[in-house]
């Protein structure tokens, strides 16, 4: 065989798999379809969420026929990993939704396009219609990188049937009378807890992971971090210590919240009808609407403490990939996704979140509903009393260390709040003080 023939045949043989691979996988990420520009948009959510987002995308395409939005949903649990790997490998979509928990860490890596030039080209009062807290969440080091979507606060979902059966006053009425205090909350939770043969068959409330109960700390006068967000201060803050102790007491002293063992595999989920009150985000509503059929339920605010009546609020950011080839189209889409029209669909129909647009929040149509929860004023309440949790770019790591450090208090009942906080804050502060990347 001569050299030329050998090389030709060998190259053809070796080239085939490469060609096959390329035909399946190579090529540009965003392509034109029917002469339209294709914008890729990534998000996560349940079936109801997908339906509504598809409707919003369709409405956007009607307004902008030159743009096609390719929406792809990634399962919630895998979303953060996928997003970060896509951003790192420069294959991320043009527009994406980012949970606030991850936003500072990703904004710090300069993955997102600054929205300031686009906002500057809009009418002067463009940002004025956004709720101030929601607006601030999208900033990183003074620049706007994201506009808030799926915003909302922690509230109490309660089983009205169990309240009536126990002869307890309605918590929302108590709230309206300014009597929805921590003591009242504990009283209701204890009264709702029921034992049969020494075994608890119904709990008054649930136990959630930090920071979902941050309002208990704030409402007892405690603070989480110092103003510069360099260290946790809860261990030396008497208000925080009291708040944590009271929250742990629900489980160990009053025994009205399930222990980790009792709650293994979630037998006391709210849908089961075996828990009187659960702490949850506004976003739980579509799921409860879908799955609860056999008992009446509604919502009320989290209880007030001796020093305040805050609740935790947080949203997701809609951001533009810095590498996008279509920044203008991406901005048009992002602007539409956070517009009052889109918010009306997301917040009023789906009741997935609290509007970030003040015009929607104040719209009487927003409060009207023909399905639970009927006490929709609570959504307004959360936005008025809402407080943001200090989420920095190392949040993921320090909060995990903190929660592990709090396990002797919450999971094992081996320490009191002060002792557990001392250890947990030391662990988290070691992360915060440690050198980045190690």
């Amino acid at each position: 065989m001569n050299r030329r023939r050998f090389l030709t045949q060998a190259s053809a043989l070796l080239g085939l798999p490469v060609l096959g691979f390329c035909s399946g996988g190579c090529g540009g990420a965003a392509t034109n379809r029917d002469g339209r520009l294709t914008l890729r948009y990534m998000a996560w959510g349940g079936p109801e969420q997908i339906r509504v987002e598809r409707r919003i995308c369709a409405a956007f395409e009607e307004l902008h026929p030159e743009i096609h939005v390719h929406l792809f949903m990634v399962p919630g649990q895998a979303y953060a990993d996928k997003l970060q790997l896509m951003l790192a490998s420069r294959t991320a979509p043009d527009v994406m939704r980012v949970d606030q928990y991850f936003f500072p860490a990703l904004a710090r890596k300069e993955y997102f396009l600054s929205l300031d030039p686009f906002i500057a080209a809009e009418p002067l009062d463009f940002l004025e219609d956004f709720h101030p807290i929601a607006r601030e969440e999208g900033r990183w080091q003074g620049r706007v990188y994201g506009l808030n979507v799926l915003w909302g606060g922690i509230m109490i979902y309660y089983n009205q049937g169990l309240f009536r059966a126990a002869g307890l006053p309605d918590p929302y009425r108590l709230f309206l009378q300014d009597r929805w205090t921590w003591e009242q909350f504990v009283e209701c939770a204890v009264a709702l807890t029921r034992k049969v043969g020494g075994r608890v068959v119904q709990f008054g409330t649930n136990h959630v992971l930090f920071p979902l109960y941050a309002s208990v700390i704030w409402n007892h006068g405690g603070e989480v971090m110092d103003p510069d967000m360099t260290r946790l201060v809860m261990a030396e803050d008497p208000g925080a210590v009291l708040g944590f102790q009271r929250y742990a007491d629900l489980r160990w002293k009053h025994q009205c919240a399930p222990s980790p063992a009792e709650n293994a595999l979630s037998p006391f989920a709210f849908e089961s009808g075996r828990t009187g009150m659960v702490w949850g985000w506004a976003g739980e509503t579509p799921r409860y609407r879908r799955s609860i059929r056999d008992f009446p339920w509604d919502i009320c605010p989290t209880p007030a403490g001796p020093t305040g009546h805050h609740t935790l609020v947080k949203g997701n950011q809609l951001v533009i990939n810095r590498e996008t080839r279509y920044p203008e189209a991406a901005w048009k889409f992002l602007k539409y996704m956070t517009s009052p029209d889109a918010e009306r669909l997301l917040c009023t129909r789906l009741r997935r979140s609290v509007p970030t647009r003040l015009s929607v929040l104040r719209d009487p149509a927003y409060l009207k509903t023909d399905q639970p929860p009927f006490q929709t004023e609570v959504f307004l309440e959360t936005s008025e009393r809402g407080r943001v949790f200090p989420i920095d770019w190392r949040y993921q790591e320090w909060v995990e260390q903190f929660n592990t450090g709090m396990e002797p208090l919450f999971a094992m009942n081996e320490r009191d709040a002060r002792s557990a906080l001392t250890d947990a804050c030391a662990r988290a502060n070691a992360v915060l003080a440690g050198e980045d990347g190690f």
Binding site: A264, L265, E407, M412
Partner: protein
């Protein structure tokens, strides 16, 4: 006489040329997807890398791990306990099962299939199944204990029993490939040896002790080496059942490596952990092979 200098033919004139062409895809795959990442991770272990910026830091990742990271040591100790307990238990269990399935009884093929079946269940599915078995209130395990008047512990929720629960769960795999390898080893032992032993009065335990075990020792070594390597890499059960908790009681080495790599995006540190694990495994395997000469007997080997 002038020595003949053998002149190498060019590649395209040699008979083995097409052989090289046909193995080229595998070779390319090996270099790209195995050797490349291996060397890549060695380089990354000497860098600070968060998927965004790469900075050379020398041996700092190793220094931090060994001197400043208590969770590294916690995960190493947890894993060492897991290896020390689960490997001997697993090997013994697989061997006993193989001995039972090596009997000539009716329907033995059915028994072999039945005992092999659990190992076909995907790891995540079996972990979820075990979550139910370990359930403190409604679990099968505590129900069984309650029948004999024992109040079972909170298996996965109690730091003192969580690691033991994972070890117990690892025994689920005793009927898997390890058992099959033992069974193959047992069937490779010549009947003549047992007949000769029987003439000298060696039956039952004596035959097992002096014929089966020595003849099976190469298989035991093989399973031991693979068992230690596999147990050091335990991940799925800890990830699915406990995620390292409670209070880091089940924080296994590879789970902590995964957390560093894909939750905190400290890929340099995670790569350093991978190389530390490689060194540990190399050390253990070397020790096992060094000691093998004392207890492993190969057929036909001089006594």
């Amino acid at each position: 006489m002038v020595p003949l200098k053998a002149r190498r033919k060019p590649l395209w004139r040699r008979r083995d040329a097409w052989g090289y062409v046909f193995i080229a895809p595998w070779l390319a795959g090996f270099l790209l997807f195995t050797a490349g990442p291996l060397l890549g991770s060695l380089y990354l272990s000497l860098c600070k890398y968060d998927l965004h910026t790469l900075e050379w830091v020398g041996t700092k990742n190793y220094q931090v791990l060994l001197t400043r990271d208590p969770l590294f040591w916690k995960s190493l100790v947890n894993t060492a306990i897991y290896v020390l307990v689960s490997v001997p238990l697993g090997l013994t269990g697989s061997l006993v099962l193989a001995l039972l399935l090596n009997q000539s009884v009716r329907g033995i093929a059915v028994f072999r299939t039945l005992f092999y079946l659990p190992s076909l269940v995907p790891a995540v599915a079996s972990a979820l199944l075990w979550a139910w078995i370990f359930h403190p209130e409604a679990g099968l395990l505590n129900y069984g204990l309650s029948l004999v008047g024992i109040r079972g512990p909170e298996w996965l929720q109690d730091p003192s029993t969580a690691l033991a629960s994972l070890i117990l769960m690892s025994l689920w795999g005793i009927g898997g490939s390890r058992m099959i390898i033992f069974l193959a080893g047992l069937q490779g032992i010549s009947e003549e040896l047992y007949e000769a032993g029987a003439l000298d009065g060696a039956r039952g335990w004596t035959a097992f002790r002096h014929i089966t075990l020595p003849m099976l020792s190469p298989t035991i070594l093989f399973n031991l080496v693979l068992g230690v390597i596999g147990s050091f890499q335990v991940f799925t059960s800890a990830y699915v059942l406990t995620n390292g908790g409670p209070n880091n009681a089940t924080l296994m080495y590879v789970l902590y490596l995964y957390n560093n790599a894909f939750r905190y995006f400290k890929l340099g540190k995670a790569s350093a952990m991978a190389w530390v694990l490689f060194v540990i495994l190399l050390l253990f395997t070397t020790i096992q092979f060094r000691h093998a000469a004392k207890w492993v007997h190969y057929e036909g080997e001089a006594a």
